[in-house]
């Protein structure tokens, strides 16, 4: 563990009994009390996650908007100040560099949040593709990022600020607001399928902010939550994970993210390849499935139909909310219809599964 990167909250993970593991070069807690407990807490109350390992890259300058428009598949042109947007960066061949969250402070100032495992790669990719009127600054090590997720998240965070959080809409942010007295950027975003917030602050305030949130939420049942619950929660909500549902070899169209590709934008990296693929239709498609036979599907397990290999599992596991074994698989589009039966090869045995509608879990939280 000694050679791993440590987030500003490293000491507190030990204090709260976190079982530490390596993730993308970082030492992070996979769980504190247990994945099932933490998962349940986030679905019914609230959970606090340290997501400081994610990359935070600032994009500034006269050409910032034009640069982002070239870089991403979405339309940054429709963003207003204070807006957050989920998008993708693609290679010219259409494969994915990374999936990202973009915040707009102003027409010449943005923040891009990227996957921990991709921070250096993304930073290089952005620098490589930038114009002289754009400045790219990697802020990852100077800032901390916490995620407070769950139905009680708003109530808990409201106790620590005078700003009216009920007016903060989904995928909007407030910058330079005080949470527990510390300067923070707060957005109504997350990776759990629940209502919730992501809070960014300077590394020096991270520990005090973490403690303040846990204390403020103690009567509402907030718990610290680790990477394990983060993964089961996002999988139930069918939120893609880079390296699983997305990669340089998987296009957004195959991953079911066509709505994040704006073909009306005349130019962006990957547009030609994606347009071609869109017109022809993709040979592979990402599907959600539920196991009918016993067995837990895991990433990379082969998927068959009638004895023929048709693809593989990208993410899989036990769903604590549904109490079923579920998974996502990238398979031959010909077999991707809902209701279709597929076989997942688990320890050399064919185990029957059923293709079902996604997401597996959707909460009707206030999405205003």
């Amino acid at each position: 563990m000694d050679n791993l990167l440590k987030t500003p909250l490293y000491d507190l993970h030990h204090k709260y009994g976190g079982k530490m593991v390596e993730f993308a070069g970082w030492a992070l807690p996979v769980y504190y009390s247990g994945i099932l407990d933490e998962h349940e807490a986030v679905r019914s109350r609230a959970g606090l996650f340290d997501v400081s390992h994610m990359g935070r890259i600032e994009v500034k300058g006269k050409g910032a908007l034009r640069f982002l428009q070239m870089l991403i598949t979405g339309d940054a042109g429709i963003m207003v100040d204070g807006k957050a947007m989920y998008s993708l960066m693609c290679y010219p061949h259409g494969g994915v560099v990374d999936d990202i969250l973009i915040y707009r402070f102003g027409p010449e100032h943005f923040l891009v949040v990227v996957n921990a495992s991709n921070t250096d790669k993304d930073h290089n990719w952005m620098v490589q593709n930038k114009t002289d009127d754009v400045e790219i600054i990697n802020l990852s090590r100077d800032t901390a990022q916490l995620a407070l997720q769950g139905p009680q998240a708003e109530k808990i965070l409201q106790g620590l600020t005078t700003v009216n959080l009920s007016e903060l809409r989904f995928f909007r942010m407030l910058c330079d607001i005080k949470i527990a007295g510390f300067n923070c950027l707060v957005s109504r975003t997350g990776y759990t399928g629940e209502d919730g917030f992501e809070v960014y602050t300077s590394t020096c305030h991270a520990q005090a902010l973490w403690e303040a949130i846990l204390q403020a939420g103690s009567s509402d049942g907030v718990v610290p939550a680790g990477l394990g619950a983060r993964d089961t929660l996002r999988m139930e909500a069918c939120l893609p994970l880079y390296g699983h549902e997305l990669s340089p070899d998987i296009t957004p169209l195959e991953a079911g993210l066509a709505k994040f590709v704006n073909f009306y934008k005349l130019s962006f990296i990957g547009r030609e390849a994606l347009t071609d693929l869109f017109e022809k239709g993709t040979a592979r498609k990402l599907v959600g499935f539920e196991m009918e036979d016993r067995g837990i599907p895991r990433a990379h397990y082969a998927v068959e139909s009638g004895g023929r290999e048709i693809g593989s599992v990208t993410s899989g596991g036990y769903s604590p909310t549904l109490k079923k074994n579920i998974g996502l698989a990238l398979i031959d589009a010909a077999y991707s219809k809902q209701g279709e039966k597929i076989d997942v090869i688990i320890r050399n045995k064919r185990q029957r599964a059923l293709i079902v509608p996604t997401p597996f879990f959707k909460k009707q939280y206030r999405n205003k």
Binding site: K19, V30, I35, L36, G228, R294, G295, R298, G317, R347
Partner: protein, 126 residues
């Protein structure tokens, strides 16, 4: 950490208990703790032969699948089907949650296993 003295242990974190009702095998408190929430168990069929050191079962936590090795070999007489429906009892009662009962083919294999004290020491060093 809980390590009862009425049984022997393997370095792969299984226990073997010899009693009037037979030779039962399960996983230790240390093992269940390291695995985290157990949500799935795959057990062998009764009547199968299993050799010492061979995989005879699989336990899966929320996070990952892990093999369970037989500390001693023999013929499987009984499997604990209760674990299939309620795998979480392995977390709450690891030393009650036997996986299989076997008829040992070589009593001598018990000799190479660790005592409770030795196992406790082994876990500390690991």
């Amino acid at each position: 950490m809980n390590i009862p003295t009425d049984r022997k242990y393997s370095k792969e974190h299984e226990w073997v208990k010899v009693s009037a009702s037979g030779v039962s095998i399960g996983i230790t408190d240390h093992a269940q703790h390291a695995l985290g929430d157990i949500v799935f168990v795959e057990l062998p069929e009764t009547g199968m032969e299993v050799g010492a050191g061979e995989v005879f079962a699989v336990v899966e936590s929320v996070k990952a699948a892990s093999d369970v090795y037989a500390p001693v070999g023999g013929k499987i007489l009984k499997v604990n089907e209760e674990l299939l429906a309620s795998p979480e009892i392995i977390n709450s009662e690891p030393y009650e949650s036997w996986f299989i009962v076997i008829e040992m083919s070589d009593q001598g294999e018990l000799e190479s296993l660790l005592s409770a004290d030795e196992y406790g020491q082994f876990c500390k060093e690991e």
